[in-house]
Amino acid sequence: MDDAFDIPDPTDWLETPLKDFSPLENSLHCDICKEFYDTPMITSCCHTFCSKCIRTCLSANGKCPSCQAADQASKLRNNCIMQTVVEQFLVARPAALDVARKEQQVGEQAKKPGKRKRTVLDSDDVAQEERSGRMTRRKSKRIAASQTSEPETIEIEDSDAEDGDEAYAPEKEADDGLMECLFGCGKRIKPEEMDTHLDRCEQEKREASKAKSRTPVNITNHRPPAAPDKPAPERISELNVSLLNDKKLRQKLEDAGIPSWGARQLVIKRHTEWVNIWNANCDSGGKKSQRELLRDLDSWERTQGGRAPNQNGPSSSIMRKDFDGVGWASNNRQDFSRLIADAKRKKSNPSAEQPATKAVDMVDAEPQSANGVHMDGSDDLRPQPLSDQKHHLPDDNEQPDRSYENNAEALSSIRDKVEATNEGRHYEPQINAGFEPATTNGDHDPTTSTEAPTTTPVGVEHEALLLSSHWGSTRKDEHLSAHLPSSPVKVPMFAVPARPFSDVDGGNVS
């Protein structure tokens, strides 16, 4: 580990005389994460993986990754000896690799007699050195103090050595411009490289002291030690989510002290992840605090959970190049067709102004006819629609001024026709005479201009409602759809306008 970027990898061994260490190291790796086993667990089918890895796997598909045999997380058992082997290997590795590399350099110059023997000797020496070195480290003492399982004797030695360190460090510093590592690993570093070195040094030391603290216990006990003062945490079981409704599920998460926001699917996934993190920690004897576990969960949240970058909402996934358009379309077909229908309706609205006038005219025609039944004609009929429509006026703006003329035309033509038919049946001479001047006057009459704005569909609907309240509920549909009559009472009135309307329509729309 003499390089800042040196990550332990089996290929490290390939260039050294100890090539066979590469497969050895490989076999100490978990097949899922490809790292050294971290709390190895053995499955029912006797395969070994890191606790976290195999738990994640089993919660994903319930099968052993190696042999595809079905298995359950509850059947996992600690593979203690593998844990010890990995830890011991990690302790021995740096020294062994150092020696192997040195050997390589030596071997390149001279031939290599008795290589194997020397390697063994050297690695022993270095291990010895390392151990004594470790005891003089100030940092290691600090870590050791925080670790309850660290034997007392080591701490005492530490503080002894520390004094010595401080006694001679300043003198040395003077001569070569280098600084001694502040953590006391014995190396001398350029001041500007101190920061990076300290990071590495601290990391190294923590690992080493962890392994160290564990070694004596394992020798006697072969079990990872549980912290004496706090009880070992208990494993939690997975939820049977199908038995829980949304509220209870979220309550469970809150009880467990983890966030409960997000969609149900996400909540379930988060809980599964939490169970895995928690139980993996239990497997390792409760090394981590709950806060650390929560941090792990948080990093899951950021990479794979609700705050994962590519799941931030539908818009970002749509932007992906390989977005599944058809799948999306079929999933959202209902929404799309509703939107299309809405859009069509809206689009037809501007042109629907003419049909709207029609409807208004219908409405007009109705009181007219209704009145007409009792009364004599158009003079009576003019004020009637006005009073009905007054409340729609504020909705409208200037635009109707223009359509007013159209409307007037429409009105007049419709009325013409209505009257004509009415004439034909009942009031032939009387109305014909009275009606014509009335409409021509209406063109310039301010009261008729107020009538024009009623061309909005809303108005028509209101009108229809109003009228339906006048004329009875069965009539409502007829007004809304402006279609053929169904009520026997009105048959003559409605059957007749239905045809002329098509004429009016064609004339106006064109």
């Binding site: 990898d9 290929t11 097949d31 899922i32 994460c33 490809k34 790292e35 890895c53 994640t56 796997c57 994903a60 598909n61 099968k63 990754p65 190696s66 595809q68 792990d296 990093s299 899951w300 990479t303 794979q304 994962a308 590519n310 390989d322 599944d324 358009g325 058809v326 799948g327």
Partner: protein, 156 residues
């Protein structure tokens, strides 16, 4: 803690950049999300030995718990075609149970997937597309992992 997938892919990348079996090469791995690999098939008369096929691996954040998405891609220069095989559609989608959630296992890796595909091609005796290829290629817009393949051929 970086996500599991990036750690694992970083390790695989280091390994792949070192040694790879003959006929498999890493073209590019710009990030830990999408890699491009080339494979060539050595002794099968169906596939000319000088022809190389390009595959695109896409990894989800849940890799290696979830399978990567692997498809063949067409390229004009250098020329890359979709190899003809009864389980490879002409749009590059591969029908291989290893790449499905059922057949996938986290112990597989990019290299082992490449080897599987290489051997699948090397052992091929029929120079044909899957049945219904034209229809599938025309109509399919789904991601490979969303397609329900029916794995009927135990030989592959």
């Amino acid at each position: 803690m970086a996500s599991m997938s990036s750690k694992r892919l970083q390790k695989e990348l280091t390994k792949i950049q070192g040694t790879l079996p003959p006929g498999i090469t890493l073209v590019s791995a710009p990030d830990l999300r999408e890699w491009v690999m080339d494979i060539s098939i050595i002794d099968n008369p169906i596939y000319p030995p000088n022809e190389t096929y390009r595959m695109r691996f896409s990894f989800s954040p849940s890799y290696p718990i979830e399978a990567p998405e692997v498809v063949f891609v067409v390229l004009a220069a250098p020329e890359r075609k979709i190899p003809i095989h009864p389980h490879i559609y002409s749009n590059g989608i591969i029908c291989l149970d290893l790449l499905d959630s059922q057949g996938w296992s986290p112990v597989h890796n990019v290299e082992s997937v490449c080897i599987s595909i290489q051997s699948m091609l090397a052992g091929n005796t029929k120079a044909e597309r899957p049945p219904g290829d034209a229809e599938f290629v025309r109509s399919n817009r789904q991601r490979p992992r969303d397609i329900n393949f029916l794995y009927h051929d135990p030989k592959v």
